[in-house]
């Protein structure tokens, strides 16, 4: 972050340079405002277009409340599972050498490259009535597709790599000296993890979990394919947005959307705070750290 020095090092900035700089900053601000801020602001304006009272009524509808509950339930199941997976995968990958490690790292990224719709469809092929286990599950009265378990599976899939992707580069950079010292001094496996590893990785872990939670709350495509859109039972908040919108009930659609947008803004704020206090950065762009 030494960009302060660049101009002085390249000679005193001329008028032309200042002009270029101002133009570029203005252009970037304009595009970000038009392209990113406007859609966000528009959600809240539309939600309150019919007045505060209509907004409160729309948010307090049974359908919205039950959708919110389901969304939180799905997130509460999917995120911890992916946290456990993220810790296990990064422990294996960063603390040991084994054949096929790079292949494993690439395989973990697959869900990022798969269309959400294809992700949802996969589980129909496995658990649906025409799929591998569908007939057997149906005979035993277990419902996964077009039911809550399918929604949870779809959410696990789309958030699968998030924790691992944050932890792997972080634990790689940290090295295993402290843990090896703990083992040499006689610490057991559990206390190495609990007393040494976890305190070291807690911020990166939290960062990854927040990214995963944010995506869980907002996932639409994969969940949509597996949900069956049963009102009050298999409708998450993003699906409630879609259903109200398609029924031309725009106040209800944008009211539900405003809750999700609020969650998104909170996520961005927490991310920013974590980045500035603990020096963690998103791995989204840091491909080169990973090999």
């Amino acid at each position: 972050m030494s960009s302060h020095g660049s101009h002085s090092a390249l000679g005193s900035p001329s008028l032309a340079n200042k002009l270029v700089r101002l133009t570029l900053i203005a252009a970037a601000l304009f595009i970000v405002a038009l392209f990113l801020v406007l859609p966000l602001v528009s959600v809240f304006v539309q939600a309150f277009a019919q007045g505060w009272r209509m907004y409160v009524d729309a948010v307090r509808q049974d359908d919205v409340i039950s959708a919110l509950k389901l969304t939180l339930l799905v997130t509460a199941l999917a995120v911890p599972l992916n946290v456990v997976f993220g810790i296990a995968a990064s422990w294996a990958i960063t603390r040991f050498d084994f054949v096929g490690k790079n292949a494993l790292i690439t395989l973990i990224d697959i869900p990022l490259a798969v269309s959400p719709v294809v992700a949802g469809m996969m589980y129909i092929e496995v658990f649906g009535l025409h799929g591998w286990f569908g007939p057997w599950l149906d005979a035993h009265n277990v419902h996964i597709v077009f039911a809550v378990p399918g929604i949870v599976l779809a959410t696990i899939f789309v958030t699968f790599p998030f924790v691992a992707r944050e932890l792997i580069p972080f634990m790689q950079a940290q090295g295993s000296d402290e843990e090896e010292a703990a083992v040499v001094l006689g610490a057991g496996a559990f206390s190495v993890f609990w007393r040494v590893t976890l305190p070291n990785i807690k911020w990166a872990l939290l960062y990854g979990a927040i990214l995963a939670a944010s995506r869980s709350i907002g996932e639409f495509g994969a969940v949509s394919v597996l949900s069956g859109h049963i009102r009050g039972r298999t409708t998450t908040l993003p699906l409630a947005v879609e259903m109200s919108y398609n029924e031309y009930n725009f106040t209800a659609a944008f009211a539900a959307a405003s809750l999700l947008s609020f969650a998104a803004v909170i996520t961005l704020a927490i991310k920013k705070i974590l980045e500035s206090t603990s020096g963690i950065h998103s791995s989204a762009g840091r491909e080169k750290d990973r090999a």
């Binding site: 020095g5 603390r95 490259a113 949509s224 993003p238 947005v241």
Partner: protein, 289 residues
């Protein structure tokens, strides 16, 4: 997609470097089990479904005018959106990495908004903005510019979701760039434009291409933000992801799986391209040090 076979416990010991740390078998075992159940087997299920009838049935499912049109619309729009994201991303990454100005850190945080904002929310918001009585559509439609319910709407939605990828891949490269190269170029009499085109742009090109490829992959598979603004007219503004959903609703599992396989092959090609780019970047960095 070959599923990694789970070697027996004794074979594990042969594969690992001796390390005093505990938990290798447990952590790798759980990782492989979870990866196989959640990702690899379900993917295999789609591939098997699509290829069950043999290549003839697969090609027959793909080579219908409606599917081909959906693939063309998707690829065209995703390509345009990736180029838009690249232009947007390069500008914003440059400004964020090089300049300090009021509001910079808010702008930096806002870049990730498309990652955080649910796609359905982005979809209905963009549709409202660009429809004929929306904040933007109101000014564009009198000039004959129609965005909502045309292919341009698809491009706008896809570039919205793809834009953070380019910023977040290029920004760290520009931030970590060694200033001595620029200073050397400046002391040799290069203008700022020459420094950009001859020094900074070539160095950041692999990152720019990686980010653009990621944005393209995301755009090609995008569903939630696109379906509201697209209008979804078969042959014209119907994307491949939506056609999969339509086919699933019609119980045409083979047809849906065929399109899904085509999309998976596309993502596989993009992943290979990105890995090659990363390999080139690492080789270049290795040379420099």
């Amino acid at each position: 997609m070959p599923a990694p076979a789970r070697p027996a416990k004794s074979a594990f010991r042969l594969l690992r470097r001796s390390s005093p740390l505990p938990g290798f078998g447990l952590s790798l075992g759980f990782t492989l089990f979870y990866l196989t159940t959640i990702v690899l087997l379900p993917l295999l299920a789609i591939v098997l479904r699509g290829l069950r009838g043999g290549p003839g049935v697969f090609l027959h499912a793909i080579a219908t005018p409606r599917v081909l049109a959906a693939c063309r619309v998707t690829l065209e729009s995703a390509l345009l959106a990736a180029l838009l994201s690249a232009a947007f991303g390069m500008l914003v990454a440059w400004v964020l990495a090089r300049y300090r100005f009021p509001g910079r850190s808010i702008m930096d945080a806002l870049i990730d908004l498309p990652f955080a904002l649910p796609t359905a929310v982005a979809g209905i918001s963009l549709t409202t903005l660009y429809s004929s009585d929306g904040w933007l559509g109101r000014f564009l439609e009198p000039h004959g510019i129609h965005i909502a319910f045309t292919q341009w709407g698809i491009v706008i939605a896809m570039s919205f979701v793809g834009s953070p990828f380019v910023v977040r891949t290029v920004q760290p490269v520009l931030e970590e760039l060694d200033h001595s190269m620029e200073e050397a170029a400046a002391s040799l009499g290069a203008s700022r434009w020459q420094i950009f085109t001859r020094v900074l742009f070539p160095v950041s090109l692999p990152a720019l291409l990686t980010g653009t490829a990621l944005a393209f992959a995301r755009a090609a598979g995008e569903y939630g933000s696109v379906i509201f603004i697209a209008g979804n007219m078969p042959m014209k503004t119907e994307i491949a992801a939506l056609l999969i959903v339509t086919k699933l609703e019609e119980y045409d599992y083979t047809g849906a799986a065929a399109i899904a396989i085509a999309m998976l092959v596309l993502s596989l090609l993009v992943m290979i391209a990105i890995n090659l780019l990363q390999w080139r970047i690492q080789r270049r960095e290795g040379k420099r040090t």
